[in-house]
């Protein structure tokens, strides 16, 4: 049909190179370093890997939280009469077991750190003025630390015979 036919039948779009190659096994082509390759001359990063660790933590904690939070919701809202059964006596029964204490403690820490780090991203995205960001993050970190400490304290000091 056209002169293109010969090209289309080949497996590659690159045509034959005219002339002889300048290089062979005895005279290999010079190695061209990949752009942005890290070498001994690359200056050391001064920023550390915090953002990468945070990114990884969001994914790892997410996987664990699926089990912890959905398990928690099934226990609290579905099994045994759902929400109607919840009361002081019910909580006392659950926290009598170290298993559920550890479950709740882990859920508390992971969910608060995961959610807190998620909110840090949201603040960074929408708060454009540096001072606004500073204040919002200060508020966020205060609330996060306070909630984690209060929740842990409640689990560790729970007293079924408080009255």
């Amino acid at each position: 049909m056209s002169t293109n036919n010969t090209v289309a039948e080949e497996t590659t779009a690159i045509g034959p190179v005219e002339g002889e190659s300048l290089y062979d096994a005895d005279f290999p082509a010079p190695l061209i370093e990949a752009p942005r390759k890290r070498t001994a001359k690359t200056p050391k990063s001064t920023r550390g890997n915090f953002e990468m660790a945070a990114w990884l933590f969001m994914r790892l904690s997410g996987v664990v939280l699926v089990v912890l939070v959905i398990g928690h919701l099934i226990i609290q809202l579905v099994l045994d009469g759902g929400v109607s059964k919840i009361g002081f006596a019910f909580v006392a029964g659950r926290w009598a077991s170290p298993f559920w204490q550890v479950w709740d403690l882990l859920m508390l820490w992971l969910a608060m750190l995961h959610g807190g780090n998620g909110l840090r991203t949201v603040i960074n995205d929408y708060a454009e003025r540096a001072t606004t960001r500073l204040w919002l993050k200060g508020l966020l970190y205060t609330a996060t630390v306070f909630t984690i400490l209060l929740g842990s304290l409640v689990i560790f000091t729970f007293d079924p015979n408080i009255r």
Partner: protein, 126 residues
């Protein structure tokens, strides 16, 4: 909102918006939730009084909404993780989104009776 936060506007963006909104909602819920649970350190009566409001039919609807938010955030979160770590993840991101939405609908229908049953009995009698 800063200019340019609306990008592309297709499934990928809307699932991201929903993931963000549900994540923020759950965080605020959890803050209040730890406060109300802390009432067990005050007195059994204080705790039981507050928990009694959870059994109110209107609050049951909020609980259903919370379950909806958690399930979406969890299922879509697993999709995000698969997109990032599974070599074929980016190629199937759209199929995985609709799979997640499908599972979400099934679970939400399944949660209707357990979460809202007691409220329905209270509102419509026995």
């Amino acid at each position: 909102m800063p200019a340019g936060t609306l990008y592309r506007g297709r499934e990928g963006m809307w699932s991201w918006v929903a993931h963000r909104v549900t994540g923020v909602l759950i965080f605020f819920f959890l803050f209040v939730h730890v406060l109300d649970t802390a009432l067990v350190r005050v007195s059994p009566e204080a705790y039981d009084d507050v928990v009694a409001t959870y059994k109110n039919p209107v609050v049951a609807l909020l609980e259903y909404g919370l379950v909806a938010a958690i399930l979406f955030h969890a299922l879509n979160g697993l999709r995000v993780i698969a997109v990032d770590f599974w070599s074929k993840g980016p190629r199937y991101q759209k199929q995985m989104l609709w799979t997640a939405v499908g599972i979400w609908i099934v679970l939400m229908v399944g949660a209707l009776y357990p979460v809202l049953g007691h409220a329905a009995r209270q509102v419509f009698g026995s």
